[in-house]
Symmetry: C4
Subunit: 219 residues, 4 copies
């Protein structure tokens, strides 16, 4: 009984606890984005000064170079979204910190499916594993957003239509990525195309956007 | 003589020194939790687009995937405990900073026993090494907690019964993990079960909990 | 219409958002500068106590040691420039944060071309790849600087002559590094010499320097 | 002429620039201290549940385990010294930031000589390389300390006798480590003993310690 009266412990924007949650998060993002460079090994050449041989050797590793930059771009895009999300938070509670950790587990794992995709783009299983990982990360974004809305952690209370619009926009990539999995077993190229359906959707969705949504959702 | 009069040097919550101790700690946690992804190598396939072959190859590496997520969860749980612990501190002194470093040495080492456990779960020695590492980390938590209590570094002085309850609850995992070592030489599955004895204990311990313990121990 | 009236969202120096952009950036720089030590493997010796054999083995790896220190120096120099640049900023906007990420992608990649250069200095392609990477990083510095100037993000508005001087000085290394690429196919030593043309240029450019440029450009 | 009148640019304790120098430094220390765990590979066993075989395999890698903990302890000790040093600083200037980077290059390199020492303790060259690296780091501590004293960056101006005492105490390990190099070619054990001469020296040096040195040198 008394427990329900006790105020839930929260940490405001200016607290040490808010700051270190972000230090930990940003450190983890920085490592996940940089680690793939370790995979880029200097090739062994029989003729050290041969342009042709070096070009061939690097060409054989081209999947790793592509993986590095795709992984950097994808994780970087999530970091930008996380940065925007936290800029809208007034405070944290312990459960949001734990949910943020769960989200970060799948960020830290992302370099692996990305490398797999870079190496075996024509393999439906690579597409599926990558799609599942990305769908989980995007799904966790929805969980984090809903939790903050429902537990009064945002700086500005969102009107219901703006909240529902925000959830719908964040769920769209989850749907597209899950949808791409069965498609991958027909054609991996077609599956990858599905991932970009968000771009036309965003254009169409402008019409349904509630007034003031941009200001509120972008903190 | 004069030395005993000199005030011990402490660093308050808002100081640069408090902040950088946490930056260092959070950076180290983030690295320890992310590093295991380096172990996840993309397999070499003879038929790049074969779902079956890729599934088999990933299955052979399943211990590494399990290790990654277990290690992330275990170290993440310690990070949450460390976050809670520091939220109760009003200030640091040099000795606590050094004890924190010692604690972090065993956090940084944890990915290795976890990987060993993931690969050789049926080996009693893997169980023993993992249990010793986790027992040391949990034991260091008790040391850090007692030190802060005894040297007036906490924001709120704890009543003696709350302090003793906190120490007992933190010591329980140390006991269970040490106990699991001899059991591992009989059955590794039974030993791993011992690790979860903390869950029923926590339920039973609710009865002995001194009033106000939750508020005080959770900062 | 209304959108054009809405103020662009910016984050001041004291905001959590400004701070975490720097935490992320500094973490990424620290990792990129430290990672090359992973490449330095302890050699295997037939006679563990033979000075001669160990000296030979380390000598064979000398390219890796040189790469480590060159990479540290080059990335460290960029970190110093980034530190100076951000000390002149009064605020960030979302686009500058995204441009900063793009810049960091090429910082995170730098250890690879550096290792390639350390191993195959006589190969024109190594020189070319390194020169392209460095030219992109220096070019991104110009982009970041111009963006901040043109979008009123600097603490002090720069006079036009000082701004143009700053751009010219930052573009000079881009020109020298691009110029070195065709030269590398004639002589790699000559190409590397081109990289140091910035030193005499800086001495000559003192004459054209607008008054007050030092104070303004060094924040 | 006018340049000599322009005040040198400094960054106070509370500035963004002071903070990010420490974020970068602490990130780099955390990485250097954690990276060695990557070297600890899970061994391959023919009988997965054999305690004997796993014990043998881990025993063969014992040098790596010892290296990990020695490296953590040595770099951790330098981090503690750096933490104390910065707690005495009132402000930074650009040159101190650059000197700090140079110091960090040798911190980032330290895991390699430590691993070499762990593997080939009986090899005089391992001892010599390790001693040179440690002597450079300790020497850089003296440089950083002198620079701060001579350029008025400390919070409290040190009396000359306290300053000279501080420099002498910091130079002592440099001397002992350099001295150990020729000794290593006679006996590596004797050389390692030299490294601990600082302990009796510190006890003797208490007598010469100027009044108030403890307070002033420990910030």
């Amino acid at each position: 009984m008394q427990e329900s009266l006790a105020p839930r412990r929260t940490y405001g924007r200016e607290s040490v606890e808010f700051a270190r949650t972000l230090t930990f998060t940003d450190g983890l993002f920085a490592i996940a984005m940089t680690l793939l460079v370790v995979d880029l090994a200097v090739p062994t050449l029989s003729d050290a000064s041969s342009v042709h041989e070096l070009a061939d050797a690097l060409n054989d590793d081209s999947a790793k170079f592509i993986s590095f930059f795709i992984s950097f771009a994808v994780i970087g895009r999530y970091w930008l979204a996380h940065h925007t999300y936290f800029s809208a938070l007034a405070r944290l509670d312990r459960k949001l910190i734990a949910l943020n950790l769960l989200y970060l587990a799948f960020i830290a794992f992302l370099p692996f499916p990305t490398a797999l995709l870079g190496e075996y783009f024509s393999n439906p299983l690579s597409i599926a594993i990558y799609a599942v990982n990305v769908a989980i990360v995007s799904g966790m974004e929805v969980v984090l957003f809903s939790y903050a809305h429902n537990h009064d952690l945002l700086e500005q209370k969102l009107p219901n239509d703006v909240y529902r619009y925000g959830v719908a926009m964040s769920l769209a990539p989850v749907v597209f990525f899950m949808l791409s999995i069965p498609i991958a077993f027909i054609s991996t190229v077609l599956a990858a195309c599905t991932w970009f359906l968000g771009i036309p959707l965003a254009a169409i969705a402008q019409r349904w956007k509630p007034e003031g949504a941009d200001d509120l959702l972008l903190g």
